[in-house]
Symmetry: C2
Subunit: 204 residues, 2 copies
DNA sequence: CGCAGAAACGCACGGTCGTGCTTTTATGGG
DNA sequence: CCCATAAAAGCACGACCGTGCGTTTCTGCG
């Protein structure tokens, strides 16, 4: 009777759980059995929803992408464009990659997936991942360009370089907080971001 | 009759091959069977050299650490301390993490290992990895401190922050060159490093 | 050369994985 | 309430994993 069928419902639940586990063990590290156990159902019952492990990985990646956009980018559209919006995004991003996001107990799933597939030969999962990352870099650059338009940033700013720099900062943050368990990771990343903004502002 | 026994010899060969494979598939991704095949020997014959897979991982990590020091840090001691030495290190480091180093066809093994163990509970391998990384960060900070002493960098420079920033740059480089296969990764990283140095120099 | 010890091998074990097949159970529109 | 259909379960398969044991081959000193 529900507007959403039983199948869709468990599928959604499975994706949510799979995403959480992926953040810990990666997309390859997911096992159908462990996932089924966590959901209290049988391996084959779960397996039927996705018809292969690769399809599961693709679905999880897509799910994660939509969640990232919804939590980090979309809310930023309510913030005035330019530097405020960029700062807002970085702040949300830190939350997504760190411990704040209970949906990702193991940190940013993209960071994990990136290293799993970086040396893999081309394949559907790798391709989707690369596309997502490049689109996100473009989006970031676009936000920076908005800052230039607003007069917050220098006219000659290399917006792609800035996007690249910010991404590197986030990778460093993930490394420090996840592997080294460095409590100063957050403040260090924010400091580095401030320095980046300083260099970006018009010379007064 | 040689000064080095047969066992030591194949062990060295095995470590070299294991390191190469690790850079592709990670420390966990190594399989004794595949490694044995690559070396043209039997699984059990190889296995006897290391008495467990965990021991193999530890040995590979130690091997990689000594090789990294030998290729990146030790040669830098011949360069005059301060900014020249720091620049030299970054240059060598880029070679190590990129495609230049034929011993690491899959990029920096530490980057790969970091992701594998970042959410693992504490264990011997993880502990060793963290120790290595923290020691390297300390070493980097020490090099930066040398630059302060030489008058190349500002007196009030936060040397730990600089080390952190450089590490983040390298992670970004690895991401761009390995996953995105971005040809501009090298120049972008060098540009970001230059910007970092600019901020570090005394205000003229 | 001879022989003790090192090195490598062959083989098998228990376990886990992804994936199909058949069967059972639950769902929900008419 | 019925019953077609969807959803979940049960079960088995082949493949691959790390690891141990007994045996065979090689190495290199006396």
């Amino acid at each position: 009777m529900g507007v959403v069928s039983k199948g869709e419902q468990t599928r959604e639940l499975a994706l949510r759980e799979a995403l959480a586990q992926s953040s810990n063990v990666g997309l390859q590290g997911i096992t159908i059995g462990a996932l089924a156990d966590s959901l209290g159902m049988s391996k084959s019952g779960l397996f039927a929803h996705f018809r292969s492990k690769e399809q599961l990985q693709l679905d999880v990646l897509d799910f994660a992408g939509r969640m990232f956009v919804a939590r980090v980018f979309t809310p930023a559209l309510d913030v005035s464009s330019g530097e405020p919006r960029l700062t807002f995004i970085v702040d949300r991003w830190l939350g997504w990659a760190g411990f704040a996001d209970y949906a990702l107990p193991g940190g940013c799933v993209f960071v994990t997936a990136a290293r799993e597939f970086d040396d893999e030969p081309d394949g559907p999962v790798r391709d989707l991942l690369v596309t997502q990352q490049q689109e996100w870099l473009d989006t970031l650059a676009q936000v920076v360009r908005g800052g230039v338009r607003e007069g917050h940033f220098r006219e000659d700013a290399d917006v792609d370089q800035v996007a690249y720099d910010i991404l590197a900062l986030m990778l460093g943050y993930h490394f420090a907080v996840r592997l080294l368990r460095d409590e100063r990771a957050d403040s260090r990343t924010r400091r580095a971001f401030e320095r980046l903004l300083d260099d970006l502002r018009p010379t007064s």
